[in-house]
Amino acid sequence: MKNAVEKFMNGLFFICGIVTIIAVLTISIYMIISGLPAIKEIGVWEFITGQVWKSTAADPQFGILPFILTSVYGTLGAVLIGVPVGLMTAVFLSKLSGPKLSAAVNTAVELLAGIPSVVYGLIGMIILVPTIMKTFGLKNGTGLLAAIIVLSIMILPSIISVSRMALNSVPPEYEEASYALGATKIETIFKVSIPAAKSGIAAGIVLGIGRAIGEAMAVMMVAGNVANMPSLFKSVTFLTTAISKEMSYAAGLQRQALYSIALILFFFIMLINIILNVILKRRAGR
């Protein structure tokens, strides 16, 4: 009797275990099955490099280059702002601040991480967009710049916490050796600690990139959602917002084209995840 129960529980837990695998496989299969038909019909090259997206025109065109470029530039911009600020804050937390101040700033960072994306979108809409409009004297404040600023704030927590952990795990012997050779604290940080922690920091950056490229709600509220080629002060559409904007009413080829956009997005994310894993494995291997 005991053996039967044992075997049953073993089997039950095994099933629970492979649920994750089943989920990932199902998602991938669904993405591929739904996304391939439109790509086949439109043609891979025309789809990915076409510059015009007019999905509901009498003669529809489905070029997603504007979306791809906007997502790439937007993520790049967010990283360009978020990584320096985040890394420096992580340095501060790890090397320069006392325990009480660290705890306080850490709490602040964790809170930033927990704020829902719609709240970021709300503040972006109310404060950021009008400010951009006034500062640059534009007739319209939504656009790539607003999205980049919002995204960089959103990826700060990921970069800060992972970099902080990476910096914390640099062996103290490295730093002590550096001091012994006459370097100042700041020089030690920049020439010894940061290079030593570089794969951890890279992991944090990749995490941030993943978050930025996948963000939809906050971006939808500040980016203007017009299928333009990316430009800082014009309304733009990301891969994610292209899907969310048209998904509910699309039908036929237009709907399948949206699935294909999701497939491309999915592909980008998988690529980033694999890179992340390779970096982490290399780090663990040391």
């Binding site: 129960v5 044992e6 073993n10 039950l12 837990f13 099933i15 629970c16 275990g17 649920v19 994750t20 695998i21 989920a23 990932v24 998602i27 739904s34 320096p84 600020v85 985040g86 420096m88 804050t89 340095v91 501060f92 700033v105 602040a108 960072v109 964790e110 809170l111 930033l112 927990g114 704020i115 829902p116 994306s117 719609v118 709240v119 709300l122 503040i123 404060i127 700060l156 800060i160 006459g182 100042t184 604290k185 700041i186 020089e187 993943g210 996948g214 939809a216 709600m217 509220m221 899907i243 969310s244 998904m247 509910s248 699935y259 999701a262 997005l265 994310i269 980033i272 995840n273 992340l276």
Partner: protein
């Protein structure tokens, strides 16, 4: 010591130090301003009427009671499903699994799930639960989608909790003749409870903040439905979704800020509880 360092190096260090303080300062100021602004514009708009009535077009008033109830129901349904499955998976990975490769495949799958953006969850959830399984726009479809989203979190935190149970406990139990399942049930799970609860709280935080996935699967409706089982099959917007709808579609910024303030309070509460539990964990060791 100072006179041995050249002026150039000193200047260098000073500039970089300034940069560090500047960036950290930006982060802190950013956070304080964000939270203060939300509370400044939001707290004043949280009225009793807002919290206890539904939206009335005839009287032109706004109430978020249905959204509060829907949020509660979604959290409940998601946890009821994801906790057993997640804990089960963690138990399998930690206690039962023999095949190392299978373990790493499962863990890789869980890692992958965390990286997938919520809009893709929304899309697949819509395709699979709403269309293929014919659930339509409903709380149940939304919960099932969220289950897959937060599953990795539960698995990971439960795994770590299980790992902290000392090996001696397990050896002692086996030495006394207990079967594996009995040992897990009576010794390991109770000891890992704090970690599991902390994982559940993190999951709640994720659920409350989620909007993109839910808009496609659970809808945006605000009709009040109090019966739990009826609600499962109805379309309903949670608080985050309601925030988006009221702000983007109605231009009701005051309501939006009120909801944002409520969400912030939930986030603060969740962070605080997690800290408390982690402190307890550290003490017990």
């Amino acid at each position: 010591m100072n006179n041995r360092i050249s002026a150039k190096r000193r200047a260098h260090s000073a500039i970089l130090k300034g940069l560090i303080f500047l960036c950290s300062g930006i982060t802190v100021v950013l956070l304080i301003s964000l939270i203060s602004y939300i509370f400044y514009r939001g707290l004043g708009n949280i009225t009793w009427e807002l919290l206890t009535t539904s939206r009335s077009a005839l009287k032109n008033t706004i109430g978020i009671l249905p959204n509060i109830i829907f949020t509660f129901y979604i959290i409940l349904t998601t946890l009821v499903i994801v906790l057993p499955v997640g804990i089960g998976a963690a138990i399998y990975l930690n206690e039962y699994a023999e095949n190392k490769r299978l373990v790493s495949v499962i863990e890789f799958a869980a890692e992958t799930l965390t990286g997938i953006p919520s809009i893709i969850y929304g899309l697949v959830g819509y395709l699979f639960f709403c269309q293929r399984l014919k659930m339509g726009s409903s709380i149940l479809a939304g919960s099932l989608t969220l289950v897959i989203m937060v599953l990795p979190t539960i698995v990971r935190t439960t795994q770590e909790a299980l790992k902290t149970v000392p090996y001696s406990y397990r050896e002692g139990a086996v030495g006394l003749g207990a079967t594996k399942w009995y040992m897990i049930r009576t010794i390991i799970l109770p000891s890992s409870l704090d970690g599991i609860v902390s994982g559940a709280i993190l999951a709640i935080g994720r659920i409350v903040g989620e909007s993109a996935a839910l808009i496609f699967t659970a809808g945006t409706a605000y009709t009040l439905v109090t019966n739990y089982f009826d609600a499962l099959g109805t379309s309903g917007g949670t608080l985050s979704v309601a925030l988006y709808v009221y702000v983007s579609e109605h231009g009701e910024f005051n309501t939006g800020f009120a909801i944002a303030a409520i969400l912030m309070m939930i986030v603060l509460f969740i962070n605080y509880s997690t800290k408390l539990i982690n402190k307890r964990l550290k003490k017990d060791r």
